[in-house]
């Protein structure tokens, strides 16, 4: 029941709220995938007691687990992967002590041979908007 609900939620979110983005990994051909844009929470850091300040734009995305496929089967996200959406580039980076990505939901599934695997229908990606170098 929970497995069906989680997969239904992932599919519904991707269909109703999803947007197509370009997903890039160094050394791989960029792919187009559907992601669900999540929370955007601008941050400001003080350097040198606030005499110089740094503004950043972290953004979360949800993505179906099987979406990231560079041609040899689905792979997990990786720190440093980039998402380009409407001319803006976001890079997966660890943030606030949390990893750059994590399974959004997980549940165990027993296969026909009796073994149990942990399935995950969606990932949450933590990104920050970056400047792309030449």
């Amino acid at each position: 029941m929970l497995q069906q609900a989680a997969e239904w939620l992932a599919a519904t979110l991707a269909t109703s709220e999803g947007v197509d983005v370009t997903y890039t990994r160094a050394g791989q051909t960029p792919i187009t995938i559907t992601v669900v844009p999540g929370r955007v929470r601008p941050e400001r850091f003080a350097l040198a007691d606030g005499r110089v300040n740094l503004e950043t734009e972290p953004a979360d995305f949800l993505v179906k687990a099987e979406a990231i496929d560079f041609g040899s089967g689905p792979v997990e996200p990786a720190t440093g992967d980039r998402i380009t959406l409407a001319g803006r580039t976001y890079e997966l980076m660890p943030r606030d002590g949390e990893p750059s990505w994590r399974p959004l939901t997980q549940y165990p599934q027993t296969l026909a041979d009796g073994t149990t695997v942990v399935r995950c229908p969606m990932y949450r990606l933590r990104t920050i908007r970056v400047k792309v170098g030449p």
């Binding site: 503004e55 580039t89 660890p94 400047k131």
Partner: protein, 162 residues
């Protein structure tokens, strides 16, 4: 007439600009409070900002040593694509290069210039009294924004009537 600390900041900036000769997109400037937006940061930013000033010591009944402290804040963004093999981490070689650049182009010149009167003083009367890299880099900004932030603080002293 500008406050002396403002003149000192401007003098240090002028000196550093001559040393590093920034070319676009790099920028060197004086600032009271600057704000950078990470996604538009396209090159080095070197800023000289005032920190503090006051009487350091009394030299005679009508003579006092004034001290002025300025900070040089250096930001260097890492713009290249992350390497999956390194799990997205900035290459240590790149960090080494930036740390070495700060030492060679900011710390060493500030630390070794305006020290002896016979070689010339800042604005003609200010001696470099202390120079310290108070932050070689900020590990959190390096990990979470891929930005090397380094801070060099320099103190200058001059003897004035007072």
């Amino acid at each position: 007439m500008a406050a002396r600390i403002t003149e000192v900041s401007a003098g240090v900036l002028n000196f550093l600009a001559g040393v590093i000769q920034p070319a676009p997109p790099d920028v060197a400037e004086a600032a009271y409070a600057a704000t950078d937006v990470l996604e538009t940061l396209d090159g080095k930013r070197v800023r000289v900002v005032p920190v503090s000033y006051g009487d350091a010591e009394r030299l005679a009944r009508r003579r006092v040593m004034k001290e002025y402290k300025v900070a040089t804040v250096i930001e260097v963004p890492y713009l290249a694509a992350a390497s999956p093999a390194a799990e997205g981490a900035i290459p240590p070689d790149w960090v080494d290069q930036q740390v070495a650049w700060v030492e060679a182009n900011i710390f060493d010149p500030l630390n070794e210039t305006f020290v002896h009167a016979e070689d010339g003083l800042l604005l003609g009367s200010l001696t470099c009294w202390a120079c310290e890299v108070t932050s070689v880099y900020d590990p959190i900004r390096l990990a979470e924004e891929k930005l090397l932030v380094s801070i060099v603080e320099t103190s200058y002293r001059e003897s004035v009537e007072g």
